[in-house]
């Protein structure tokens, strides 16, 4: 059975088949046999060629969290569109850009108005979470098309805050910038 997961935005494939003497893992060219045992509510003991690893695992919706000897992994199942892992907190569409909340928190300031021109790195809004203020900055030169939230509003992670439109002459949609401070 084949599985796909995004880890840090990179797609990885692995195949796992149940056999008489354990599981057969196929990872690219590598083929291994593993003895996998559930040892606790969140613990798996995995033995590959005599090497034992204790793997901690928990799943929440489409994310699987794994910890192995102090290293953490977040494995994201591919979405419906077959698209990748949190494509960051901005979604672009033909030069328009939705700036979203980077974390759950409270909008304490909207620093721009609709139709206002903005410059790259200009502060658009301030979202406070856990008593720290986080400035949400523009990743492009353009103008504010719409504002979806108001000051004092509680927002969830990835909640759309502001829609920006890139300045015409740049042409290309600003896809790779970060809206984070």
């Amino acid at each position: 059975m084949e599985f796909e997961f995004f880890v840090d935005n990179a797609l990885h494939r692995i195949s796992l088949e149940k056999k008489e003497d354990g599981f057969e893992i196929t990872d690219g060219e590598t083929r291994l046999t593993a003895d996998i045992q559930t040892v606790s509510a969140n613990g798996l003991s995995v033995v590959v060629a005599g090497r034992a690893s204790l793997v901690y695992i928990a799943r929440d919706q489409d994310k699987t969290y794994v910890s192995i000897a102090g290293q953490q992994f977040i494995l994201q199942e591919p979405g419906r569109e077959g698209k990748g892992f949190h494509g960051a907190d901005e979604k672009t569409q033909q030069g328009a850009l939705i700036v979203t909340a980077p974390m759950p928190g409270k909008v304490i300031k909207i620093a721009v108005a609709e139709q206002e021109a903005v410059r790259k790195n200009q502060t658009l809004a301030i979202v406070e979470a856990m008593k720290m203020e986080n400035e949400i900055k523009s990743s492009l030169d353009g103008f504010v098309k719409s504002i979806f939230v108001s000051e004092g509003e509680l927002v969830d992670s990835e909640k759309p805050l502001i829609e920006l439109v890139a300045k015409k002459e740049t042409g290309a949609p600003a896809a790779s910038g970060s809206g984070r401070p």
Partner: protein, 503 residues
């Protein structure tokens, strides 16, 4: 001794105080906001009182409700923990008036040291070395501008009522001053209910060295040596240790005696910390008094063998200090790592959500002070500190190795934490050499990214996730086609692998 103590706090520090009370046989009262009904401190206390909505200003900072909770439960004393009302002299005064003992300094001392500007003036007068800065709070922007000009950029904005980095900003030019003042004031207001800020000369690459002091109600004062807290991000400590590599015994004695003098000058009682900046030429400057139990107090407890919360409670109950300076010794080396709910790869952005699984590290010389548990939702309303991992060993290098092993043994699944980042700091050669200063993270870890994940561990992680998906019977995307295939796993019926399924 008190017959009942109310803890006016939440999270790991409330848990810490409850445990100390239990050891002393004192029943406890927890107070909690609407966001904290399921929090650990509420589960551990003997009695609980709800004190209002989630925002701290309506609950943990609401003096009326906390005093009423003490009244209704018959608590004789209130332990404020750190943060919230811990350094609020109005609250201490309210407690004095209501005849409830505030486990902390008297309100006059608290008012003096809590007003950083007044404190600096008083200390300067007493001959304590201080950093050049504004000696009063300005009203107009122009006053700040001219003060900053006089000090010379870079300057530091500090909250008068502050601590913990809240409201603090480095300003490197006049153009940044206006917005930075505005942000600093807002942060100060929301954290402390007081928007006063002042400016100070910014000293570059200093070490942050602080001294723990205990003073009883008669004025007997001892210091319990230093903690070095140079490893900071956003002006907030994340790793603390004791002893400091920068002090020799002569400087230690000199700074310790100065710390005691600071506390005597303020007529301070109970536990408190005197913070100093130590510059590259080993000059030290009084920074401020933290008039509370510090987050990093376990480091001192490990090295001195003294329980600071027990001492606080005994002093507040009117007992005479049983400790004598000449009897106090530092032994071995202790390091604390603060475990924050935050993402170090995203400018330490706070991360909230459900803790799907927690495994606390254990072993000789390992202490884990914690306010979380598997299945708990980390609320967005409060400071993102989740826990503190503290280790002790006979020397610094052994303590570093023990900390690294303990961090490897630490599992928190479901939210981002700084554990990987902490491991890299402890593993850094400059840290290991003891060459630390408050710019350490900026200098060595700017734009830090987690190492690219590859190799054997990644394969194991993929295998485990695949195994989990296979056994949970939920939709799995098949490779290549991108089509969704429902897996009706034959092993589904064999085990009880139902954990971690979508909520």
């Amino acid at each position: 001794m008190f017959k009942k103590i109310l803890i006016a706090n939440r999270g790991e520090i409330a848990v810490r105080v409850i445990k100390a009370c239990r050891e002393m046989g004192i029943p406890t009262v927890a107070v909690y906001s609407e966001a904290d009904r399921k929090s650990l401190h509420v589960q551990m206390a003997d009695e609980t009182v709800p004190i209002g909505p989630a925002p701290a200003i309506d609950s943990y900072l609401n003096m009326d409700r906390i005093i009423a909770a003490a009244r209704s439960t018959g608590a004789e004393a209130i332990h404020p923990g750190y943060g919230f009302l811990a350094e609020n002299s109005d609250f201490a005064r309210r407690c004095e008036k209501e005849k409830v003992v505030f486990i902390g300094p008297n309100s006059d001392a608290l008012e003096l040291v809590g007003d950083k500007v007044r404190a600096r003036r008083a200390m300067e007068k007493a001959g304590i070395p201080i950093i050049p800065g504004m000696k009063s709070i300005a009203k107009e922007f122009s006053e700040y501008r001219s003060a900053a000009g006089g000090l010379g950029y870079p300057v530091m904005i500090k909250a008068s009522a502050g601590g913990g980095g809240k409201g603090m900003r480095i300003v490197s030019s006049e153009a940044e001053l206006g917005p930075a003042l505005e942000a600093g004031r807002r942060e100060a207001m929301s954290a402390f209910g007081d928007e006063s800020v002042y400016l100070e000369k910014y000293i570059e690459a200093p070490r942050h060295v602080e001294f723990q002091v205990l003073a009883d109600n008669e004025g007997n004062t001892v210091h319990l040596f230093e903690r070095e807290c140079s490893i900071q991000r956003r002006h907030q400590k994340i790793i603390e240790e004791s002893p400091s590599r920068a002090l020799d015994s002569e400087l230690r004695t000199k700074m310790g005696e100065t710390a005691k003098k600071v506390m005597r000058t303020a007529r301070y009682n109970n536990a408190g910390t005197v913070e100093f900046l130590l510059d590259q030429n080993k000059n030290f400057y009084f920074l401020e008094v933290n008039a509370r139990l510090q987050v990093e107090h376990p480091v001192t407890e490990f090295c001195t063998g003294i329980d600071l919360v027990h001492q606080q409670i005994r002093i507040a109950a009117g007992e005479r200090l049983s400790l004598v300076q000449s009897d106090l010794k530092q032994r071995g080396h202790a390091i604390e790592c603060r475990i924050y709910a935050e993402d170090p790869t995203r400018q330490f952005l706070p991360s909230s959500g459900k803790i799907l699984f927690l495994k606390e590290p254990q072993g000789p010389g390992i202490r884990h002070d914690c306010g979380i548990y598997s299945g708990w939702d980390v609320p967005i309303y409060y400071d993102p500190i989740l826990a503190k991992l503290v280790v002790w060993a006979e020397d610094r290098e052994s303590a570093c190795l023990r900390m690294l092993a303990a961090l490897d043994d630490y599992v928190i699944l479901g939210i981002s934490t700084c554990i990987n980042f902490l491991k890299e700091i402890i593993g850094h050669p400059e840290f290991r050499a003891g060459r630390t200063n408050t710019g350490f993270i900026k200098n060595h870890f700017e734009n830090w990214q987690d190492k690219e994940k590859s190799g054997e561990k990644l394969r194991l992680a993929l295998t485990a996730a695949a195994y989990q998906a296979m056994n949970s019977g939920t939709a799995v995307r098949k490779a290549a086609t991108g089509a969704v295939r429902e897996t009706a796993s034959p092993w589904q019926s064999l085990g009880h692998w139902r954990l971690g399924e979508g909520r």
